[in-house]
């Protein structure tokens, strides 16, 4: 019986035995963060700002938060609370329906303003940031919402799309987007594939986490090995096996 089941079984009988906390985790990557907020802050620190010349706000992914907080339902709940309080925005990254990017609202605001500085759409973007962002916390916006509730006209919406703040979703609705995020998505998808192929080429299709992080990062991985490893673990694209020499990452058989 593994540890978790034994704990649940003793809880079923109402016997609570206080055990001293075990030794600190050997892998620095797997030390769990306390709450979703701390997890997002830790992940945002992993993001390579210099790569994009500080033009992009640091983006963390929802799957990375799952890797730091193993209880997914709780993580979802806390992220939803942060979203409702307006501290973070969730962005739909185009490549996968489930892949959601998380940015802090402040970072997002400063970067967007810097990006459209001096361009003709600056005024519209500022109006958007001031009126729509605090009011509506969703991932996407509908036509009637934009025209009636917030008073944007069609040419203004086109300016917003040109500025990169909105991405067309289908006729009459738009996703919220980060200007210049295309490069990030390209690097991310390439890096994910490169890391998965590293695992595929390894003997028995598995690698110790410490060894993986210690390897020279391949040229396709621009965002950092640790960043990608969190995403792979959280998206359950690799299985995490605890061993006596640390965590082992193994590609699933299916």
């Amino acid at each position: 019986m593994n540890r978790r089941r034994r704990r649940l079984a003793s809880e079923a009988f109402g016997v609570k035995r206080r055990r001293a906390p075990g030794p600190a985790q050997a892998d620095p990557l797997r030390a769990g963060a306390g709450s979703a907020r701390e997890a997002v802050e830790a992940l945002v620190r992993l993001f390579p700002r210099g790569l994009f010349e500080d033009a992009l706000p640091p983006i963390a992914l929802r799957s990375q938060v799952y890797s730091l907080l193993p209880d997914r339902t709780l993580a979802d709940l806390q992220l939803k609370e942060l979203q409702e309080q307006g501290e973070i925005r969730i962005i739909q990254l185009g490549f996968d329906l489930d892949a959601h990017g998380i940015v802090f609202t402040e970072d997002y605001r400063t970067r967007v303003l810097k990006a459209c500085d001096g361009r003709p759409c600056a005024g519209v973007v500022q109006k958007f940031l001031a009126s729509v962002l605090p009011a509506c916390g969703d991932l996407s916006f509908q036509q009637d919402q934009m025209t009636q509730t917030y008073g944007f006209r069609d040419p203004e919406i086109t300016h917003l799309v040109n500025a990169g703040v909105l991405t067309v979703r289908d006729a009459g609705s738009w996703w919220l987007a980060v200007p210049g995020a295309g490069r990030f998505i390209k690097f991310f998808v390439k890096g994910r594939q490169a890391l998965l192929s590293m695992l595929r080429r390894a003997k028995y299709r598995e690698l110790l986490l410490s060894e993986l992080l210690g390897r020279r990062s391949p040229s396709a991985v621009r965002l950092g090995l640790a960043y990608h490893v969190h995403d792979l673990i959280g998206a359950q694209l690799v299985d995490c096996v605890p061993t006596s020499s640390g965590t082992l990452l193994r590609l699933p058989d299916t």
């Binding site: 019986m1 009988f13 799952y66 993580a75 991932l139």
Partner: protein, 369 residues
């Protein structure tokens, strides 16, 4: 444990509490039973299993060669090592045997005198257990994927049948004909399930990604369509008003009927509140599902926090229903697992494997007797 027993004896605690605590403990200790085995009769994959609800003693299994076998699970010999023997079977030489693979078998919910089986040969057969003859046959125009008869209903004897066509057929056992049709889905119906709480509530899952809840007395349409985003349109385009982002393969009500679990080919399992259709947003992580027809999974009943057993590749994944935590994976089969059933008296699950056919009993390590 001893404190529970003495509290129960002196009347300080409800007898149910001890039962639930012990059930939970046994479910958490599930492992492959080395002492108990099931006799191998099927030559090819086993598609469906059902344990009779009255005593939990007899088990039916339906295979992809059309064979139906009845097993006696009780250990009447005094030996610890025991093979569950097949009592009788509807083999290939039987005149009434199904022509193609049997997809679903179910005992008659009130006694073991009768059972029903549905198959890819477009028929649903009602069998008399004692004589092992087909008492009635319902014919359909399309292959039958799944059928279910309500375990709790006393006022009706309807069997809901899901076929390759988009209409759910309801067949009446008493009169021997189809009573009516429920229209609303657009593609094949992969799973149907009656609510254990209300006599007339039926849930159907279809390949068009929708799960509908019906009141079968209402002619106009379904009560609810389950929406994974709970009405918030902001999430994604194609998944408006759908329960999953792919085909919905399996349905299971929890034993109290208050919640409904669905699995889909988008590798997700979702828990819904069955009274208002709200997605409870419990996140189980990735639940691998590449079955092209229905996936039969089961929920425990009688434990303090319920567990769901889902076939996951060649293992069974066990999750806690309300928290979404994955507890363990039960490994023991060599090929992919198709279905599993839970027996509440012994907290054992039996599951079956695609090819070659195998049924394994899993039980807690301290099996009594």
């Amino acid at each position: 444990m001893l404190s529970f027993l003495s509290a129960r004896q002196s009347g300080l605690e409800d007898p149910l509490r001890l039962r639930r605590a012990q059930s939970t403990r046994r479910v958490l200790a599930l492992e492959l039973n080395k002492d108990r085995d099931v006799e191998r009769i099927h030559g090819s994959g086993v598609n469906t299993l059902d344990i009779e609800p009255v005593e939990g003693r007899y088990m039916l299994s339906g295979g992809s060669d059309g064979v139906i076998v009845l097993y006696d699970l009780e250990n009447s010999s005094r030996q610890p090592y025991y093979t569950c023997k097949a009592v009788c079977s509807v083999g290939r030489s039987h005149p009434d045997v199904h022509k193609y693979s049997v997809e679903t078998v179910q005992w008659y919910p009130h006694d073991t005198g009768m059972f029903t089986s549905s198959s890819f040969d477009k028929t649903l057969k009602v069998w008399d257990t004692n004589t092992l003859q087909a008492a009635d046959v319902f014919n359909f125009e399309e292959t039958v994927y799944s059928h279910h008869m309500s375990p709790a209903a006393t006022k009706h004897c309807l069997i809901a049948v899901g076929t390759r066509g988009p209409k759910v057929q309801l067949c009446d056992l008493k009169s021997g004909s189809c009573s009516h049709i429920l229209q609303g889905h657009r593609q094949e119906i992969l799973a149907v399930s009656w609510s254990p709480r209300h006599d007339y509530i039926l849930a159907t899952a279809s390949a068009d990604s929708r799960v509908n809840l019906w009141d079968v007395r209402r002619a106009s349409g379904c009560l609810l369509t389950l929406d994974q985003h709970n009405g918030k349109k902001s999430q994604a385009v194609e998944s408006a008003n759908t329960a999953h982002n792919g085909k919905v393969n399996g349905l299971c009500f929890t034993s109290d009927g208050l919640h409904l679990l669905t699995v889909g080919t988008d590798n997700r399992m979702r828990l819904w509140n069955s009274s208002n259709g709200e997605n409870t947003l419990v996140n189980y992580g990735k639940v691998c599902n590449d079955s092209r027809k229905g996936l039969k999974f089961t929920v425990s009943c009688g434990c303090s926090s319920e567990f769901v057993f889902v076939p996951y590749g060649s293992t069974i994944a066990v999750y806690a229903v309300h928290s979404g935590e994955q507890l363990t994976m039960l490994k023991g089969h060599y090929k992919s697992v198709d279905c599993c059933v839970f027996q509440s008296n012994f907290q054992a699950t039996t599951k079956s494997q695609l090819n070659p056919a195998f049924e394994d009993a899993w039980s807690s390590s301290d099996e009594e007797g």
